[in-house]
């Protein structure tokens, strides 16, 4: 045996560092705005409406066109194809407002100038004459105005709801308001288009969905998709905010580039980015829940009103997913859940990590809390009483059987490791003797369905080239937004070929390499693309095995990939040597891999199916202290146990859990979106919109992966998706704040805090409970 001595063991399941780490820290990782522009690059800037709903009577561009450096103005008339970038293909999302504006901040036209500064200044110089129309800004206003929907609502129903209520000795009705969230990706929206020969155009876009940008650019230019190439090296954060919201920017850059035959770049400033692009939907959920004296839920009937904004965008699937997670980890004997994706005169809301799921789960935790306070029990007892079973009580509201339930083990382990019971008792004692400061503790579970509910999205492709020297190009359809997808897929490929990671070059995502890709979204990136890359490697490896068997005159069965090369019977051949001989023997050293998620199906019309391949689980315990004079608070300690199956890269996954939790905590605590009564968003920059900073990290922060977990389904490396589920671990912060607030009325009144739970909401909650306790 002469195995190659220098190649280390497989990197799969190892805590490999992010492939771009050294470039990130050196400032040499290239984002679109960092690329050196082709000579003569033009800069586009959008002019935005200053009315929430109005007819456009006239626009006078004279001052715009006379402004220094202006090359031209791009309006709806300049669009060769359709003035639409609607990702739902409902033709309801014009690039430039057509006749009417539907929200404050809607793009009216674009200025094209020699410099970005010139374009930006000129964009503010148009004289726009409006005729005001009535407007509705939020869920309640939209419902009051007739409840116009932007897309078809969904209903999920299982069991006999009426009978469930009848046999419920107890019942609670209420409403919960769950706030929205701005993505606040650090790199804002941006695109650069470079015109080519014939109809060709190459677009660099900060997008999670290059294939859709390709389609949209083709659509607005009225050309075929094959003329458009979209490239994405990396994004400076996405979080769902670049699943569809990059379409418009890419379209404007491409139209201008073709019109003037010069490269064109477009980058809004932060205020415009936050004003003109969609966010997480805020919801108002009206609920009616029947339960028994032990706290077991008998029936749930809930309506999920969502501020969809002016167009459909992804509001259909987002509100669908809210319904898919109306149960969180709990079994409902009877349930009816209905969505209302409401038309509002606000920016069209969009995907955001969790995609409606977090809102559905937050509402669910509200009625758990209601039940607990009604019965005078620790909410954790109510949670446990309602968990899905493993062999029975395991059917979801969408009629999928939960086959991989591990929530009991996760919660039991966390309850022990966090010393929950002793700490809760200590907190009750503390509160009894503390007049101003009050503490709270809560444990909340997470069960999150993995797969796109649009079943056809659950496919992926990869393209792998092996060059004559044994070095490898890896392309796949997934995009890198910081989540570590590129390194994970590279680990899969390195493992498959038994080579070191340095043999693999991770290529920028390009529609020219892998066609018809799905958005890098729904936490699916490594599940789908990892499998596609593995499939490509499988094909090449099969050819290499055949070649080696022939070359070394042995049976294919005894040819084996080992670190650094192959073992063909007694013969070891280094990988590069094998590749060189394979080339000379005319073996194809390139393959396109493909994967489609098995087992899933979904019939939206009947609300039945098996939309999720599997579920990811987790739980967290949060402890907080509030100041009842001001509502200020501290998150004292958080313990997390999260299930990622068999982790492809524990360091990357821990990063997703920690980062997801903090982002979720921001959503639920300090990140407040405020529109004024004229319809203008007032929280549109970091000075007014407050995402967590370093000192907001819980004072004690214990994060663990459930190391025993192995995905029951044959996913890549038996891992589980990790992008979205950890965000919802932050719900325990809300529930802990609720307990602290409830203490001012001796835990006798359900605190019912809406989110985000700002210091103001905490203080006003305390005041309300004190008032109610006094009668």
């Amino acid at each position: 045996m002469n195995k190659h001595p220098t190649i280390s063991r497989s990197t799969l399941h190892e805590s490999t560092r992010h492939d771009s780490g050294p470039k990130h820290v050196s400032g040499s990782a290239e984002y679109i705005d960092d690329m050196i522009e082709p000579a003569g690059t033009m800069h586009a800037y959008l002019a935005l409406s200053t009315k929430p709903h109005a007819e456009i009577v006239a626009i006078d561009y004279a001052a715009v066109k006379a402004s220094p450096g202006v090359i031209g103005v791009l309006t709806a008339e300049d669009i060769p194809g359709e003035n639409d970038v609607s990702p739902s293909h409902k033709h309801d999302e014009p690039i430039f407002a057509a006749g009417k504006v539907h929200f404050w901040g809607q793009p009216l036209f674009a200025v094209i100038a020699e410099t970005r500064d010139q374009a930006r200044r000129a964009a503010h110089l148009a004289q726009v004459e409006y005729r005001d129309l009535p407007f509705a800004l939020d869920v309640r206003a939209a419902q009051a105005a007739g409840g116009q929907l932007v897309t078809e609502p969904l209903k999920l129903e299982r069991g006999d709801v009426a009978a469930g209520f009848e046999k419920s000795p107890r019942r609670v009705k209420g409403s919960v308001t769950i706030g929205g969230q701005d993505h606040f990706y650090l790199e804002g929206q941006i695109a650069m288009a470079i015109p080519g020969e014939d109809e060709d155009v190459t677009v660099f876009s900060s997008t999670q969905h290059p294939s859709e940008v390709q389609l949209m650019v083709a659509h607005v230019l009225n050309i075929q998709q094959h003329a458009v190439t979209v490239n994405v090296r990396r994004m400076g954060g996405g979080f769902g905010g670049k699943e569809t919201q990059g379409n418009l920017f890419a379209a404007v850059a491409a139209i201008a580039a073709k019109k003037w035959n010069r490269a064109c770049k477009i980058r809004p400033d932060r205020d415009d980015d936050m004003t003109a692009t969609g966010k997480r939907h805020d919801f108002v959920v009206d609920y009616d829940v029947g339960y028994d004296d032990t706290g077991k839920i008998q029936a749930v009937d809930a309506v999920y009103g969502a501020r969809a904004g002016f167009s459909s965008d992804l509001s259909g699937p987002v509100t669908d997913r809210a319904l898919f997670h109306c149960d969180n980890a709990y079994w409902y004997p009877a349930v009816r859940a209905r969505s209302e994706p409401l038309y509002t005169n606000t920016v069209s809301n969009t995907a955001f990590r969790g995609f409606g799921g977090p809102q559905g789960m937050m509402a669910c935790e509200r009625w758990i809390e209601d039940i607990a306070y009604d019965l005078g029990r620790d909410p954790l007892e109510i949670r446990k009483a309602n968990f899905y079973g493993t062999d029975s009580e395991n059917v979801t509201p969408y009629h999928q059987v939960v086959e991989d339930n591990v929530i009991h083990r996760v919660v039991d382990e966390l309850e022990q490791s966090s010393d929950y019971q002793a700490r809760r008792k200590a907190i009750l004692d503390y509160n009894a003797g503390s007049p101003i400061l009050k503490k709270g503790i809560a444990l909340t579970p997470v069960k999150f369905g993995i797969s796109f509910t649009a079943t056809w999205y659950n496919q992926a492709g990869a393209l792998v080239h092996v060059y004559k020297d044994g070095s490898i190009h890896l392309s796949h359809g997934g995009t890198e937004m910081g989540q570590g997808l590129y390194i994970k897929v590279a680990q899969v490929l390195a493992d498959a070929f038994c080579v070191g990671l340095d043999a693999i070059k991770i290529m920028a995502t390009s529609t020219g390499k892998v066609p018809n890709t799905s958005a890098t979204a729904a936490s699916s990136g490594s599940d789908l693309n990892g499998m596609a890359a593995w499939d490509a490697a499988r094909q090449i490896k099969a050819r290499l095995v055949t070649h080696a068997a022939k070359l070394y005159q042995c049976d294919e069965a005894v040819v084996e990939f080992v670190p650094g090369g192959i073992q063909a019977g007694d013969q070891f051949v280094a990988f590069a040597e094998l590749i060189a001989s394979a080339y000379l023997n005319r073996v194809q050293l390139s393959a396109a891999g493909f994967y489609q998620t098995p087992k899933i199906h979904w019939d939206r019309a009947t609300g039945r199916g098996h939309p999720f391949y599997y579920f990811a689980y987790g739980a967290s315990v949060s402890e907080v202290t509030i100041d009842t004079l001001t509502g200020e608070y501290v998150v004292d300690r958080v313990d997390i146990l999260h299930d990622v199956g068999r982790s492809l890269n524990p360091a990357i996954d821990i990063g997703q859990v920690e980062g997801g939790f903090i982002q979720g905590m921001g959503w639920l605590t300090t990140e407040e979106l405020v529109w004024d009564d004229k319809g203008q968003l007032r929280t549109k920059a970091p000075s007014t919109y407050k995402i967590p900073v370093a000192s907001d990290v819980p004072r004690i922060f214990n994060v663990r992966l459930a190391e025993w977990s192995v995905n029951k389904e044959p996913t890549i490396g038996r891992s589980k998706a990790v992008g979205e589920p950890p965000l919802m671990l932050a719900m325990s912060v809300v529930e802990a704040l609720s307990m602290a607030v409830a203490s001012v009325a001796d835990y006798k009144i359900a605190p019912r805090l809406d989110t985000p739970v700002t210091p103001e909401r905490v203080l006003m909650g305390c005041e309300r409970l004190k008032r109610e306790a006094r009668g």
Binding site: V25, G236, F239, I436, S687, K690, D696, V697
Partner: protein, 485 residues
């Protein structure tokens, strides 16, 4: 009149820069990215809040070079005369070896999307230079002005703690170069005023500033540019001509005598902190909550007062302490009570050509109680929803002999709560008195509802802060603890 030079001169990494043609409103970030094609520093917000553009600016302090983290997005190039600008591109060695700060970030998985990372690296570099083994609070403070949306900060904090295991500041390869370039920086400070195209004026001295501003009363004064920077980046206002004063050593003086502490107007929050902490320890916490580190390194006390914002954090405590403002117009000087400076929203008692030269703060007499409370949606790096300062003297009989209460965020200007004061003075300092007095806040203030807080919350919290103050002066206060166990 001083001799006049015609170039802004500074050192960018290892390159000497001399600019004879630069606009007053050209930001350092645009200069780096668009002109020098140094694109490691990112624009995340262009308002000094996210820190993605953080660079270090070194300046002479005595015979030492001091390096401050600053946000390049709102720092004007005209303010850089005689400085050393260090960007993220300068840290990695020519052979590709990562700097200890960078290596720690990589090894601790401190970057995900990477867009904020150069800014974090620079903030951590600034911290490590002066504090190689920082505590958790020191790390959190140094990172207040850096937003990360991916990591949740935990790995970045781990990296901050690990940097010194990769090397000591004494062995920093950039240290040797710094000693060498000190001579060049000194040479730039040649006693001449810099003027460029009637748009940029960098006066040679405080007297030179007084005379040039008297002659150009329409000019914009820029010290730290933490406010004026946003006029440019957010509102696209043309600000020229600009008189840059951030470099004037005479305006950076801090003088203490037997009765008062004097800050000249150019003292930054960071520079003021040691004196504040020593003389007014009650203000230390507030000071650490003013903006983020980069902004505290740039912004000045004079600017915080002079611009007349109703939500500036320093006026309420300074008014409660009875601070006086010293204004200067040419060679004429006058002194007013700080509270009299704020006339109405956007209107101050400052004449054309007149500037804030210094502020004096009388020491707190023994036996008086004093506290300032800032309340904001997010605890750190946020603008106050309200900020209240309380000062009381309770005589031996337990009666309120003197009380001064001032708030920001409650009215169109920083303003005293005179009705509440009247309801307290001469009364016994008891819970009963306080509870009877808090209703008077509604006479003093009719706050507005905005994106930071509702009017109702502001008024209720103002009342409760008086209760908090009372409890604290009587030993029954309770404050949130934020120490990391």
């Amino acid at each position: 009149m001083a001799e006049i030079a015609n170039a802004i001169r500074f050192i960018l990494n290892d390159e000497e820069i001399a600019l004879t043609d630069v606009a007053a409103d050209t930001t350092l970030l645009d200069f780096l990215r668009l002109e020098k094609r140094l694109r490691g520093s990112k624009e995340g917000c262009a308002e000094g809040d996210c820190g993605a553009c953080t660079v270090l600016v070194g300046r002479l302090h005595g015979d030492e070079m001091i390096y401050d983290s600053v946000t390049a997005c709102i720092r004007f190039v005209g303010s850089l005369h005689g400085t050393h600008v260090v960007t993220v591109e300068h840290l990695r060695a020519k052979d590709g070896t990562l700097h200890p700060v960078q290596q720690a970030m990589v090894d601790q998985h401190g970057s995900q999307c990477g867009f904020c990372t150069p800014g974090f690296v620079m903030s951590l570099y600034g911290l490590w230079m002066r504090d190689p083994h920082p505590s958790q609070p020191a790390i959190e403070k140094a990172l207040q002005g850096n937003l990360c949306r991916c990591t949740g900060y935990a790995p970045i904090i781990r990296a901050a703690k690990a940097i010194s295991s990769y090397g000591a500041p004494e062995a920093d390869p950039l240290r040797a170069e710094r000693i060498a370039l000190k001579g060049k920086i000194k040479a730039i400070h040649d006693g001449r005023r810099v003027e460029i195209a009637d748009q940029i004026i960098v006066p040679a001295s405080l007297d030179d500033f007084a005379s040039v501003y008297e002659a150009n009363p329409g000019a914009t004064i820029v010290a730290g540019s933490t406010d004026v920077g946003l006029w440019v980046t957010k509102f696209m206002r043309r600000i020229g001509p600009v008189i840059f004063i951030g470099h004037l050593q005479e305006l950076k003086r801090i003088a203490e005598n037997d009765s008062e502490l004097r800050f000249y107007a150019g003292v930054s929050y960071s520079e003021a902190l040691p004196s504040i902490a020593a003389n007014f320890p009650q203000l230390g916490e507030l000071w650490d909550r003013i903006a983020g580190e980069q902004i505290r390194n740039m912004g000045t006390i004079g600017g915080n007062i002079a611009n007349g914002s109703p939500i500036g954090d320093t006026p309420p405590p300074l008014i409660a302490l009875g601070a006086k403002l010293h204004l200067r117009w040419g060679e004429h000087r006058r002194e007013i009570k700080l509270e009299d400076y704020f006339l109405a929203y956007g209107k101050q008692d400052r004449q054309p050509g007149e500037f804030v030269e210094s502020v004096t703060i009388p020491y707190l007499p023994a036996g008086e109680h004093f506290a300032t409370y800032k309340v904001s949606k997010r605890r750190e790096e946020d603008i106050s929803a309200l900020c209240g300062a309380f000062r009381v003297f309770v005589n031996d009989a337990g009666v309120v002999g003197m009380v001064r209460i001032a708030f920001g965020g409650m009215a169109a200007t920083p303003k005293r709560a005179r009705a509440v004061e009247a309801a307290l003075v001469g009364k016994p300092w008891t819970l009963e008195t306080v509870e009877a007095a808090i209703g008077a806040f509604a006479e003093d203030y009719q706050p507005i509802s905005d994106m930071r807080a509702s009017a109702e919350y502001r008024l209720l919290t103002a009342q409760n802060l008086l209760l908090r103050f009372f409890h604290e002066t009587t030993g029954r206060g309770q404050r949130l603890r934020r120490e990391v166990a």
